[in-house]
Protein backbone atom coordinates (compact mmCIF):
# COMPACT_ATOMS: atom_id res chain seq x y z
CA UNK A 1 0.00 0.00 0.00
CA UNK A 2 2.66 2.49 1.03
CA UNK A 3 4.80 1.31 -1.85
CA UNK A 4 2.05 2.08 -4.33
CA UNK A 5 1.69 5.55 -2.85
CA UNK A 6 5.43 6.14 -3.02
CA UNK A 7 5.47 5.21 -6.69
CA UNK A 8 2.47 7.48 -7.29
CA UNK A 9 4.36 10.38 -5.71
CA UNK A 10 7.37 9.57 -7.80
CA UNK A 11 5.35 9.44 -11.01
CA UNK A 12 3.72 12.79 -10.28
CA UNK A 13 7.12 14.35 -9.55
CA UNK A 14 8.42 13.03 -12.85
CA UNK A 15 5.41 14.44 -14.67
CA UNK A 16 5.83 17.76 -12.90
CA UNK A 17 9.48 17.98 -13.93
CA UNK A 18 8.74 17.01 -17.53
CA UNK A 19 5.81 19.40 -17.80
CA UNK A 20 7.91 22.26 -16.45
CA UNK A 21 10.66 21.61 -18.92
CA UNK A 22 8.23 21.18 -21.80
CA UNK A 23 6.70 24.55 -20.88
CA UNK A 24 10.15 26.16 -20.83
CA UNK A 25 10.76 24.72 -24.29
CA UNK A 26 7.51 25.81 -25.86
CA UNK A 27 6.71 29.03 -24.03
CA UNK A 28 9.03 31.39 -25.99
CA UNK A 29 7.63 30.15 -29.30
CA UNK A 30 4.06 30.40 -28.05
CA UNK A 31 4.68 33.92 -26.72
CA UNK A 32 6.02 35.04 -30.09
CA UNK A 33 3.09 33.57 -31.99
CA UNK A 34 0.37 35.12 -29.81
CA UNK A 35 1.98 38.54 -29.65
CA UNK A 36 2.49 38.68 -33.41
CA UNK A 37 -1.29 38.91 -33.75
CA UNK A 38 -1.85 41.79 -31.33
CA UNK A 39 -1.73 45.54 -31.61
CA UNK A 40 1.25 47.47 -30.30
CA UNK A 41 -0.31 48.56 -27.02
CA UNK A 42 -1.42 45.07 -26.14
CA UNK A 43 2.01 43.65 -26.87
CA UNK A 44 3.51 45.82 -24.16
CA UNK A 45 0.64 46.03 -21.71
CA UNK A 46 -0.34 42.36 -21.59
CA UNK A 47 2.34 40.26 -23.22
CA UNK A 48 0.95 37.08 -21.67
CA UNK A 49 -2.61 37.46 -22.90
CA UNK A 50 -3.78 35.62 -25.97
CA UNK A 51 -5.23 37.96 -28.60
CA UNK A 52 -8.83 39.01 -27.90
CA UNK A 53 -11.13 40.49 -30.54
CA UNK A 54 -10.23 43.91 -29.15
CA UNK A 55 -6.47 43.51 -29.34
CA UNK A 56 -6.35 41.37 -32.48
CA UNK A 57 -4.30 43.10 -35.16
CA UNK A 58 -2.35 41.78 -38.11
CA UNK A 59 -0.48 45.01 -38.83
CA UNK A 60 2.88 43.27 -38.31
CA UNK A 61 2.14 40.75 -41.03
CA UNK A 62 1.09 43.51 -43.45
CA UNK A 63 4.37 45.31 -42.81
CA UNK A 64 6.42 42.17 -43.34
CA UNK A 65 4.62 41.07 -46.47
CA UNK A 66 4.60 44.61 -47.82
CA UNK A 67 8.24 45.50 -47.14
CA UNK A 68 10.29 42.36 -47.12
CA UNK A 69 10.48 40.12 -50.11
CA UNK A 70 9.60 37.06 -48.09
CA UNK A 71 8.02 35.14 -50.97
CA UNK A 72 11.37 35.20 -52.78
CA UNK A 73 13.25 34.23 -49.63
CA UNK A 74 10.98 31.26 -49.07
CA UNK A 75 11.35 30.22 -52.67
CA UNK A 76 15.15 30.42 -52.44
CA UNK A 77 15.29 28.41 -49.21
CA UNK A 78 12.93 25.87 -50.68
CA UNK A 79 14.90 25.42 -53.91
CA UNK A 80 18.24 25.20 -52.11
CA UNK A 81 16.97 22.73 -49.52
CA UNK A 82 15.11 20.45 -51.93
CA UNK A 83 17.85 20.31 -54.56
CA UNK A 84 20.56 19.76 -51.93
CA UNK A 85 18.63 16.96 -50.26
CA UNK A 86 17.97 15.29 -53.61
CA UNK A 87 21.65 15.41 -54.53
CA UNK A 88 22.79 14.26 -51.08
CA UNK A 89 20.41 11.31 -51.22
CA UNK A 90 21.30 10.32 -54.79
CA UNK A 91 25.08 10.72 -54.53
CA UNK A 92 25.19 9.49 -50.94
CA UNK A 93 23.18 6.35 -51.74
CA UNK A 94 25.28 5.58 -54.80
CA UNK A 95 28.53 5.89 -52.86
CA UNK A 96 27.09 3.95 -49.93
CA UNK A 97 26.06 1.16 -52.31
CA UNK A 98 29.52 0.98 -53.86
CA UNK A 99 31.16 0.86 -50.43
CA UNK A 100 28.83 -1.70 -48.90
CA UNK A 101 28.29 -3.98 -51.91
CA UNK A 102 31.62 -4.37 -53.66
CA UNK A 103 34.99 -5.42 -52.42
CA UNK A 104 37.71 -3.45 -54.16
CA UNK A 105 41.07 -1.99 -53.36
CA UNK A 106 40.80 1.25 -51.41
CA UNK A 107 37.31 0.51 -50.09
CA UNK A 108 38.18 1.12 -46.43
CA UNK A 109 40.30 4.11 -47.34
CA UNK A 110 37.46 5.67 -49.33
CA UNK A 111 35.10 5.04 -46.43
CA UNK A 112 37.42 6.80 -44.01
CA UNK A 113 38.01 9.65 -46.45
CA UNK A 114 34.27 10.26 -46.76
CA UNK A 115 33.90 10.00 -42.97
CA UNK A 116 36.21 12.94 -42.25
CA UNK A 117 33.37 15.30 -43.03
CA UNK A 118 31.16 13.88 -40.27
CA UNK A 119 33.34 15.42 -37.59
CA UNK A 120 35.21 18.27 -39.30
CA UNK A 121 32.82 21.14 -40.11
CA UNK A 122 32.85 22.41 -43.69
CA UNK A 123 32.78 25.95 -42.34
CA UNK A 124 36.50 25.84 -41.61
CA UNK A 125 37.22 25.84 -45.34
CA UNK A 126 35.16 28.99 -45.92
CA UNK A 127 38.11 31.18 -46.90
CA UNK A 128 39.02 28.94 -49.81
CA UNK A 129 35.40 28.07 -50.65
CA UNK A 130 34.64 31.75 -51.19
CA UNK A 131 37.78 32.08 -53.27
CA UNK A 132 36.73 29.13 -55.41
CA UNK A 133 33.20 30.45 -55.84
CA UNK A 134 34.54 33.86 -56.88
CA UNK A 135 36.88 32.20 -59.37
CA UNK A 136 34.07 30.19 -60.93
CA UNK A 137 31.62 33.09 -60.88
CA UNK A 138 29.21 31.28 -58.59
CA UNK A 139 29.03 33.94 -55.88
CA UNK A 140 25.47 35.12 -55.29
CA UNK A 141 23.94 32.12 -57.00
CA UNK A 142 21.87 29.41 -55.40
CA UNK A 143 24.16 26.89 -57.10
CA UNK A 144 26.97 27.86 -54.72
CA UNK A 145 24.77 27.08 -51.73
CA UNK A 146 23.55 23.82 -53.24
CA UNK A 147 27.14 22.67 -53.86
CA UNK A 148 28.25 23.51 -50.32
CA UNK A 149 25.26 21.84 -48.69
CA UNK A 150 25.59 18.76 -50.87
CA UNK A 151 29.22 18.38 -49.85
CA UNK A 152 28.24 18.98 -46.23
CA UNK A 153 25.50 16.34 -46.28
CA UNK A 154 27.26 13.54 -48.14
CA UNK A 155 29.48 12.16 -45.30
CA UNK A 156 26.65 11.44 -42.86
CA UNK A 157 24.40 10.17 -45.66
CA UNK A 158 27.04 7.68 -46.83
CA UNK A 159 27.66 6.55 -43.28
CA UNK A 160 24.01 5.94 -42.37
CA UNK A 161 22.97 4.52 -45.75
CA UNK A 162 25.86 2.05 -46.00
CA UNK A 163 24.93 0.67 -42.57
CA UNK A 164 21.41 0.06 -43.85
CA UNK A 165 22.47 -1.30 -47.22
CA UNK A 166 24.53 -4.03 -45.55
CA UNK A 167 21.27 -5.40 -44.20
CA UNK A 168 19.73 -5.86 -47.68
CA UNK A 169 19.67 -9.55 -48.45
CA UNK A 170 22.39 -10.83 -50.78
CA UNK A 171 20.09 -13.52 -52.13
CA UNK A 172 17.78 -10.88 -53.49
CA UNK A 173 20.59 -9.09 -55.30
CA UNK A 174 22.01 -12.34 -56.63
CA UNK A 175 18.58 -13.38 -57.87
CA UNK A 176 18.49 -10.08 -59.73
CA UNK A 177 21.90 -10.75 -61.23
CA UNK A 178 20.83 -14.20 -62.39
CA UNK A 179 17.81 -12.64 -64.01
CA UNK A 180 20.18 -10.47 -65.99
CA UNK A 181 19.75 -7.13 -64.21
CA UNK A 182 22.67 -4.77 -64.57
CA UNK A 183 24.38 -3.46 -61.42
CA UNK A 184 22.64 -0.13 -62.01
CA UNK A 185 19.19 -1.74 -62.14
CA UNK A 186 19.99 -3.70 -58.99
CA UNK A 187 20.80 -0.45 -57.23
CA UNK A 188 17.89 1.60 -58.52
CA UNK A 189 15.18 -1.07 -58.67
CA UNK A 190 16.03 -3.48 -55.85
CA UNK A 191 18.13 -1.74 -53.21
CA UNK A 192 16.86 1.84 -53.24
CA UNK A 193 13.20 0.94 -52.59
CA UNK A 194 14.30 -1.23 -49.66
CA UNK A 195 16.27 1.49 -47.89
CA UNK A 196 13.56 4.12 -48.24
CA UNK A 197 13.04 4.48 -44.46
CA UNK A 198 16.74 5.20 -44.01
CA UNK A 199 16.59 7.70 -46.87
CA UNK A 200 13.78 9.54 -45.08
CA UNK A 201 15.86 9.72 -41.91
CA UNK A 202 18.84 11.07 -43.82
CA UNK A 203 16.60 13.61 -45.56
CA UNK A 204 15.34 14.97 -42.25
CA UNK A 205 18.83 15.14 -40.75
CA UNK A 206 20.13 16.91 -43.84
CA UNK A 207 17.26 19.32 -44.07
CA UNK A 208 17.45 21.00 -40.67
CA UNK A 209 20.99 22.41 -40.84
CA UNK A 210 20.49 23.54 -44.44
CA UNK A 211 17.23 25.38 -43.80
CA UNK A 212 18.61 27.05 -40.67
CA UNK A 213 22.09 27.94 -41.89
CA UNK A 214 23.09 31.58 -41.67
CA UNK A 215 26.84 31.40 -42.33
CA UNK A 216 26.97 30.38 -46.00
CA UNK A 217 24.05 32.51 -47.23
CA UNK A 218 25.70 35.46 -45.46
CA UNK A 219 29.06 34.86 -47.10
CA UNK A 220 28.29 33.21 -50.44
CA UNK A 221 24.90 34.56 -51.45
CA UNK A 222 23.90 37.75 -49.63
CA UNK A 223 22.32 39.46 -52.66
CA UNK A 224 18.65 40.38 -52.57
CA UNK A 225 17.74 37.83 -55.26
CA UNK A 226 19.40 34.87 -53.51
CA UNK A 227 18.68 35.51 -49.82
CA UNK A 228 17.31 32.55 -47.92
CA UNK A 229 14.60 32.87 -45.27
CA UNK A 230 17.11 32.64 -42.45
CA UNK A 231 19.30 35.42 -43.81
CA UNK A 232 16.30 37.44 -45.01
CA UNK A 233 14.63 37.46 -41.62
CA UNK A 234 17.94 38.20 -39.89
CA UNK A 235 18.41 41.35 -42.00
CA UNK A 236 14.75 42.33 -41.98
CA UNK A 237 14.54 42.11 -38.20
CA UNK A 238 17.79 44.01 -37.85
CA UNK A 239 16.25 46.88 -39.80
CA UNK A 240 12.92 46.87 -38.01
CA UNK A 241 14.25 46.48 -34.47
CA UNK A 242 11.89 49.07 -33.03
CA UNK A 243 8.81 47.90 -34.91
CA UNK A 244 7.78 45.11 -32.57
CA UNK A 245 4.74 44.10 -34.58
CA UNK A 246 6.87 43.56 -37.66
CA UNK A 247 9.62 41.73 -35.76
CA UNK A 248 7.19 39.34 -34.08
CA UNK A 249 5.34 38.73 -37.34
CA UNK A 250 8.59 38.04 -39.20
CA UNK A 251 9.65 35.59 -36.49
CA UNK A 252 6.28 33.84 -36.63
CA UNK A 253 6.47 33.55 -40.40
CA UNK A 254 9.91 31.99 -40.08
CA UNK A 255 8.73 29.57 -37.37
CA UNK A 256 5.55 28.35 -39.09
CA UNK A 257 7.03 26.20 -41.86
CA UNK A 258 9.34 24.53 -39.35
CA UNK A 259 6.42 23.84 -37.02
CA UNK A 260 4.31 22.38 -39.82
CA UNK A 261 7.14 20.17 -41.09
CA UNK A 262 7.94 19.09 -37.55
CA UNK A 263 4.42 17.91 -36.91
CA UNK A 264 4.44 15.97 -40.16
CA UNK A 265 7.87 14.44 -39.75
CA UNK A 266 8.42 14.32 -35.99
CA UNK A 267 7.67 10.64 -35.82
CA UNK A 268 10.11 9.88 -38.61
CA UNK A 269 12.75 12.08 -37.04
CA UNK A 270 12.43 10.68 -33.55
CA UNK A 271 12.33 7.12 -34.82
CA UNK A 272 15.42 7.87 -36.88
CA UNK A 273 17.34 9.09 -33.85
CA UNK A 274 16.18 6.43 -31.45
CA UNK A 275 16.71 3.56 -33.87
CA UNK A 276 20.40 4.30 -33.59
CA UNK A 277 20.90 5.91 -36.96
CA UNK A 278 23.46 8.27 -35.45
CA UNK A 279 25.19 5.83 -33.20
Amino acid sequence: MSKARASLTRTSLVHLALISYAVISIFPVFLTLINSMKDRNAIFRNPMQIPTPKTFDLVGYYTVLGQGDFATYFQNSFIVTVVSIALVLLFGAMAAFALSEYRFRGNTLMGLYLAIGIMIPIRLGTVAILQGMVATGLVNTLTALVLVYTAQGIPLAVFILSEFMRTVSDDLKNAGRIDGLSEYSIFFRLVLPLVRPAMATVAVFTMIPIWNDLWFPLILAPSEATKTVTLGSQIFIGQFVTNWNAVLAALSLAILPVLILYFIFSRQLIRGITSGAVK
Partner: protein
Protein backbone atom coordinates in the same frame (compact mmCIF):
# COMPACT_ATOMS: atom_id res chain seq x y z
CA UNK B 1 33.04 -4.33 -44.35
CA UNK B 2 34.85 -7.58 -44.91
CA UNK B 3 31.95 -9.66 -43.72
CA UNK B 4 29.90 -8.83 -46.79
CA UNK B 5 30.41 -11.66 -49.23
CA UNK B 6 30.80 -10.16 -52.64
CA UNK B 7 29.30 -12.09 -55.49
CA UNK B 8 32.10 -11.17 -57.78
CA UNK B 9 34.67 -12.86 -55.59
CA UNK B 10 32.76 -16.09 -55.58
CA UNK B 11 32.42 -16.32 -59.35
CA UNK B 12 35.77 -18.03 -59.34
CA UNK B 13 38.48 -18.18 -61.93
CA UNK B 14 36.65 -16.39 -64.75
CA UNK B 15 38.62 -13.23 -65.49
CA UNK B 16 36.22 -10.42 -64.88
CA UNK B 17 36.18 -7.15 -66.81
CA UNK B 18 36.94 -3.85 -65.11
CA UNK B 19 34.03 -3.04 -62.89
CA UNK B 20 33.28 0.43 -64.19
CA UNK B 21 30.06 0.67 -62.20
CA UNK B 22 31.97 0.98 -58.93
CA UNK B 23 33.61 4.13 -60.23
CA UNK B 24 30.31 5.43 -61.56
CA UNK B 25 28.65 4.89 -58.17
CA UNK B 26 31.47 6.56 -56.24
CA UNK B 27 32.41 9.38 -58.54
CA UNK B 28 29.66 12.02 -58.03
CA UNK B 29 29.93 11.95 -54.23
CA UNK B 30 33.72 11.87 -54.41
CA UNK B 31 33.93 14.84 -56.79
CA UNK B 32 31.52 17.14 -54.98
CA UNK B 33 32.89 16.24 -51.56
CA UNK B 34 36.51 16.68 -52.61
CA UNK B 35 36.01 19.84 -54.62
CA UNK B 36 33.81 21.72 -52.17
CA UNK B 37 34.94 20.36 -48.84
CA UNK B 38 38.36 18.69 -48.72
CA UNK B 39 40.31 20.80 -51.23
CA UNK B 40 39.11 24.14 -49.78
CA UNK B 41 39.99 22.86 -46.32
CA UNK B 42 43.52 22.01 -47.44
CA UNK B 43 43.78 25.28 -49.32
CA UNK B 44 42.72 27.17 -46.19
CA UNK B 45 45.37 25.39 -44.14
CA UNK B 46 47.92 26.29 -46.84
CA UNK B 47 46.80 29.95 -46.95
CA UNK B 48 47.49 30.27 -43.24
CA UNK B 49 51.18 29.96 -44.08
CA UNK B 50 51.08 32.86 -46.55
CA UNK B 51 50.62 36.57 -46.18
CA UNK B 52 50.62 39.59 -48.44
CA UNK B 53 53.98 41.31 -48.38
CA UNK B 54 54.38 44.31 -50.72
CA UNK B 55 51.26 43.31 -52.61
CA UNK B 56 52.54 39.81 -53.26
CA UNK B 57 51.50 36.60 -51.63
CA UNK B 58 54.58 35.37 -49.81
CA UNK B 59 55.35 32.29 -47.79
CA UNK B 60 55.78 33.39 -44.19
CA UNK B 61 55.93 30.03 -42.44
CA UNK B 62 54.33 30.23 -39.03
CA UNK B 63 54.54 34.02 -39.07
CA UNK B 64 50.76 34.46 -39.11
CA UNK B 65 50.43 32.30 -36.02
CA UNK B 66 53.10 34.33 -34.23
CA UNK B 67 51.14 37.48 -35.05
CA UNK B 68 47.87 35.90 -33.92
CA UNK B 69 49.24 34.64 -30.61
CA UNK B 70 51.66 37.45 -29.81
CA UNK B 71 51.07 40.66 -31.75
CA UNK B 72 49.25 43.23 -29.66
CA UNK B 73 46.72 44.02 -32.41
CA UNK B 74 45.58 40.41 -32.61
CA UNK B 75 46.55 38.55 -29.47
CA UNK B 76 44.08 40.20 -27.09
CA UNK B 77 41.14 39.51 -29.39
CA UNK B 78 42.26 35.97 -30.06
CA UNK B 79 42.89 34.91 -26.47
CA UNK B 80 39.67 36.61 -25.40
CA UNK B 81 37.71 34.67 -28.04
CA UNK B 82 39.41 31.42 -27.13
CA UNK B 83 38.73 31.92 -23.41
CA UNK B 84 35.09 32.76 -24.10
CA UNK B 85 34.80 29.72 -26.32
CA UNK B 86 36.14 27.48 -23.58
CA UNK B 87 33.66 28.95 -21.08
CA UNK B 88 30.90 28.51 -23.68
CA UNK B 89 31.83 24.84 -23.95
CA UNK B 90 32.12 24.28 -20.18
CA UNK B 91 28.66 25.75 -19.61
CA UNK B 92 27.24 23.38 -22.23
CA UNK B 93 28.91 20.40 -20.61
CA UNK B 94 27.78 21.34 -17.12
CA UNK B 95 24.21 22.38 -17.94
CA UNK B 96 23.07 20.98 -21.26
CA UNK B 97 24.30 17.42 -20.95
CA UNK B 98 23.20 16.74 -17.34
CA UNK B 99 19.74 18.17 -18.11
CA UNK B 100 19.64 16.05 -21.25
CA UNK B 101 20.51 12.91 -19.30
CA UNK B 102 17.97 13.71 -16.58
CA UNK B 103 15.18 14.31 -19.10
CA UNK B 104 16.05 11.12 -20.96
CA UNK B 105 16.11 9.13 -17.72
CA UNK B 106 12.62 10.37 -16.84
CA UNK B 107 11.26 9.85 -20.36
CA UNK B 108 12.48 6.27 -20.46
CA UNK B 109 10.63 5.23 -17.32
CA UNK B 110 8.39 2.30 -18.19
CA UNK B 111 4.69 3.02 -18.68
CA UNK B 112 5.14 6.78 -18.54
CA UNK B 113 2.14 8.47 -20.06
CA UNK B 114 2.41 11.35 -22.55
CA UNK B 115 6.09 10.50 -23.14
CA UNK B 116 5.73 11.20 -26.88
CA UNK B 117 4.17 14.60 -26.22
CA UNK B 118 6.98 15.63 -23.85
CA UNK B 119 9.58 14.43 -26.30
CA UNK B 120 8.03 16.38 -29.15
CA UNK B 121 7.80 19.57 -27.08
CA UNK B 122 11.33 19.43 -25.69
CA UNK B 123 12.87 18.67 -29.05
CA UNK B 124 11.08 21.54 -30.81
CA UNK B 125 13.64 24.35 -30.13
CA UNK B 126 16.41 22.27 -31.67
CA UNK B 127 14.75 22.59 -35.07
CA UNK B 128 14.42 26.36 -35.00
CA UNK B 129 17.12 28.45 -36.61
CA UNK B 130 19.53 30.48 -34.50
CA UNK B 131 18.03 33.60 -35.97
CA UNK B 132 14.61 32.78 -34.57
CA UNK B 133 15.94 31.58 -31.23
CA UNK B 134 18.30 34.51 -30.87
CA UNK B 135 15.69 37.15 -31.54
CA UNK B 136 12.99 35.52 -29.44
CA UNK B 137 15.27 35.48 -26.40
CA UNK B 138 16.51 38.96 -27.13
CA UNK B 139 12.90 40.13 -26.93
CA UNK B 140 12.10 38.08 -23.84
CA UNK B 141 15.18 39.24 -21.95
CA UNK B 142 14.71 42.82 -23.08
CA UNK B 143 13.94 45.18 -20.19
CA UNK B 144 11.69 47.16 -22.55
CA UNK B 145 9.18 44.36 -23.02
CA UNK B 146 9.08 43.34 -19.41
CA UNK B 147 8.19 39.69 -19.92
CA UNK B 148 11.03 38.33 -17.84
CA UNK B 149 10.61 40.79 -14.92
CA UNK B 150 6.92 39.87 -14.95
CA UNK B 151 7.65 36.14 -14.90
CA UNK B 152 10.27 36.50 -12.19
CA UNK B 153 7.81 38.52 -10.17
CA UNK B 154 5.47 35.51 -10.17
CA UNK B 155 8.11 33.51 -8.29
CA UNK B 156 9.19 36.46 -6.17
CA UNK B 157 12.56 36.99 -7.80
CA UNK B 158 11.88 40.28 -9.53
CA UNK B 159 14.73 42.06 -7.75
CA UNK B 160 17.22 39.71 -9.39
CA UNK B 161 16.29 40.76 -12.91
CA UNK B 162 18.82 42.71 -14.91
CA UNK B 163 19.47 43.16 -18.62
CA UNK B 164 21.79 40.17 -18.72
CA UNK B 165 22.57 40.31 -22.42
CA UNK B 166 23.81 43.87 -22.10
CA UNK B 167 26.18 43.38 -19.18
CA UNK B 168 29.75 42.22 -19.84
CA UNK B 169 29.71 39.97 -16.77
CA UNK B 170 26.60 38.04 -17.59
CA UNK B 171 26.29 38.29 -21.39
CA UNK B 172 28.34 35.18 -22.16
CA UNK B 173 26.47 33.09 -19.62
CA UNK B 174 23.14 34.32 -20.97
CA UNK B 175 24.09 33.49 -24.56
CA UNK B 176 25.39 30.07 -23.52
CA UNK B 177 22.18 29.30 -21.69
CA UNK B 178 20.12 30.32 -24.72
CA UNK B 179 22.18 27.85 -26.74
CA UNK B 180 21.65 25.20 -24.05
CA UNK B 181 17.90 25.84 -24.20
CA UNK B 182 17.94 25.30 -27.93
CA UNK B 183 20.13 22.19 -28.01
CA UNK B 184 19.16 20.17 -24.96
CA UNK B 185 17.01 18.04 -27.27
CA UNK B 186 20.01 16.37 -28.90
CA UNK B 187 21.64 14.85 -25.79
CA UNK B 188 18.16 13.98 -24.56
CA UNK B 189 17.34 12.00 -27.70
CA UNK B 190 20.68 10.20 -27.95
CA UNK B 191 20.67 9.20 -24.28
CA UNK B 192 17.02 8.22 -24.53
CA UNK B 193 17.88 5.91 -27.42
CA UNK B 194 20.75 4.41 -25.42
CA UNK B 195 18.49 3.84 -22.40
CA UNK B 196 15.87 2.12 -24.55
CA UNK B 197 18.56 -0.23 -25.85
CA UNK B 198 19.31 -1.62 -22.39
CA UNK B 199 17.74 -5.08 -22.39
CA UNK B 200 14.89 -5.90 -20.05
CA UNK B 201 16.78 -8.82 -18.49
CA UNK B 202 19.49 -6.56 -17.11
CA UNK B 203 16.94 -4.33 -15.42
CA UNK B 204 14.97 -7.33 -14.14
CA UNK B 205 18.11 -8.90 -12.74
CA UNK B 206 18.89 -5.64 -10.95
CA UNK B 207 15.38 -5.54 -9.52
CA UNK B 208 15.70 -9.11 -8.26
CA UNK B 209 18.82 -8.04 -6.43
CA UNK B 210 16.90 -5.16 -4.90
CA UNK B 211 18.61 -2.44 -6.93
CA UNK B 212 15.85 0.01 -7.86
CA UNK B 213 15.19 3.70 -8.34
CA UNK B 214 18.15 6.01 -7.91
CA UNK B 215 20.78 3.41 -7.21
CA UNK B 216 19.58 1.47 -10.25
CA UNK B 217 20.16 4.51 -12.39
CA UNK B 218 23.62 5.25 -10.99
CA UNK B 219 24.89 1.69 -10.76
CA UNK B 220 23.27 -0.06 -13.71
CA UNK B 221 22.05 2.36 -16.33
CA UNK B 222 24.67 5.10 -16.20
CA UNK B 223 27.64 2.80 -16.87
CA UNK B 224 25.72 1.31 -19.79
CA UNK B 225 25.07 4.69 -21.42
CA UNK B 226 28.63 6.02 -21.02
CA UNK B 227 29.40 5.52 -24.74
CA UNK B 228 26.40 7.70 -25.61
CA UNK B 229 27.59 10.34 -23.14
CA UNK B 230 30.97 10.25 -24.88
CA UNK B 231 29.28 10.87 -28.22
CA UNK B 232 27.22 13.81 -27.00
CA UNK B 233 30.34 15.32 -25.43
CA UNK B 234 32.30 15.23 -28.67
CA UNK B 235 29.30 16.53 -30.65
CA UNK B 236 28.99 19.40 -28.16
CA UNK B 237 32.71 20.10 -28.45
CA UNK B 238 32.71 20.28 -32.25
CA UNK B 239 29.49 22.30 -32.30
CA UNK B 240 30.71 24.81 -29.71
CA UNK B 241 34.11 25.47 -31.24
CA UNK B 242 32.45 26.00 -34.58
CA UNK B 243 29.57 28.14 -33.29
CA UNK B 244 28.82 31.50 -34.83
CA UNK B 245 25.18 32.07 -35.71
CA UNK B 246 23.69 32.56 -32.26
CA UNK B 247 26.23 35.11 -31.07
CA UNK B 248 26.00 36.92 -34.41
CA UNK B 249 22.22 37.11 -34.14
CA UNK B 250 21.98 38.09 -30.50
CA UNK B 251 25.01 40.34 -30.10
CA UNK B 252 26.01 41.26 -33.66
CA UNK B 253 29.33 40.71 -35.41
CA UNK B 254 31.19 42.69 -32.74
CA UNK B 255 29.98 40.19 -30.14
CA UNK B 256 29.30 42.87 -27.56
CA UNK B 257 29.14 44.18 -24.96
CA UNK B 258 32.82 45.00 -25.34
CA UNK B 259 33.73 41.63 -26.87
CA UNK B 260 32.32 39.79 -23.88
CA UNK B 261 30.63 37.18 -26.07
CA UNK B 262 33.25 36.99 -28.81
CA UNK B 263 34.02 33.39 -29.75
CA UNK B 264 36.26 31.93 -32.45
CA UNK B 265 33.45 31.80 -35.02
CA UNK B 266 32.62 35.51 -34.73
CA UNK B 267 36.32 36.41 -34.65
CA UNK B 268 36.82 34.42 -37.86
CA UNK B 269 33.90 36.19 -39.50
CA UNK B 270 35.12 39.67 -38.56
CA UNK B 271 38.70 38.93 -39.51
CA UNK B 272 37.99 37.25 -42.81
CA UNK B 273 35.05 39.30 -43.98
CA UNK B 274 35.74 42.61 -42.35
CA UNK B 275 33.30 44.64 -40.35
CA UNK B 276 32.65 48.38 -40.26
CA UNK B 277 36.11 50.01 -40.25
CA UNK B 278 38.04 46.77 -40.22
CA UNK B 279 39.05 45.42 -43.63
CA UNK B 280 38.78 41.73 -44.41
CA UNK B 281 42.06 39.84 -44.12
CA UNK B 282 42.23 36.57 -45.99
CA UNK B 283 45.48 35.28 -44.54
CA UNK B 284 44.58 35.97 -40.95
CA UNK B 285 41.11 34.54 -41.58
CA UNK B 286 42.73 31.36 -42.84
CA UNK B 287 45.02 31.37 -39.80
CA UNK B 288 42.11 31.54 -37.37
CA UNK B 289 40.27 28.84 -39.34
CA UNK B 290 43.39 26.68 -39.07
CA UNK B 291 43.55 27.17 -35.31
CA UNK B 292 39.87 26.17 -35.07
CA UNK B 293 40.61 23.14 -37.25
CA UNK B 294 43.49 22.08 -34.99
CA UNK B 295 41.40 22.51 -31.84
CA UNK B 296 38.55 20.43 -33.30
CA UNK B 297 40.98 17.85 -34.66
CA UNK B 298 42.64 17.56 -31.25
CA UNK B 299 39.26 17.08 -29.57
CA UNK B 300 38.09 14.49 -32.08
CA UNK B 301 41.39 12.57 -31.90
CA UNK B 302 41.33 12.60 -28.12
CA UNK B 303 37.84 11.16 -28.28
CA UNK B 304 38.54 8.54 -30.96
CA UNK B 305 41.92 7.33 -29.73
CA UNK B 306 41.73 7.76 -25.98
CA UNK B 307 38.24 8.16 -24.55
CA UNK B 308 36.37 5.83 -26.87
CA UNK B 309 38.90 3.04 -26.27
CA UNK B 310 38.79 3.37 -22.52
CA UNK B 311 35.02 3.23 -22.30
CA UNK B 312 33.94 -0.33 -21.90
CA UNK B 313 31.25 -1.34 -24.34
CA UNK B 314 28.74 -3.99 -23.46
CA UNK B 315 27.38 -6.25 -26.14
CA UNK B 316 23.96 -7.69 -25.51
Amino acid sequence: MSDTPSTHDTTGPIKRPTRWHIGVFLLPAFIVYSAVMILPLIETLRLSLFNTVDGQSTFVGLGNFQVLFGDERWADDFWNALKNNVIFFIIHMLVQNPIGVALAAMLSLPKLRFAAAYRTAIFLPTLLSFVIVGFIWKLILSPIWGVSPYLMDLVGLKSFFSPWLGKPNSALIAVSLISVWQYVGIPMMLIYAALLNIPEEVIEAAECDGVTGWSQFWKIKLPLILPAIGIISILTFVGNFNAFDLVYTVQGALAGPDGATDILGTLLYRTFFGFQLQLGDRSMGATIATVMFLIILAGVSLYLFVIQRRIRRYQF
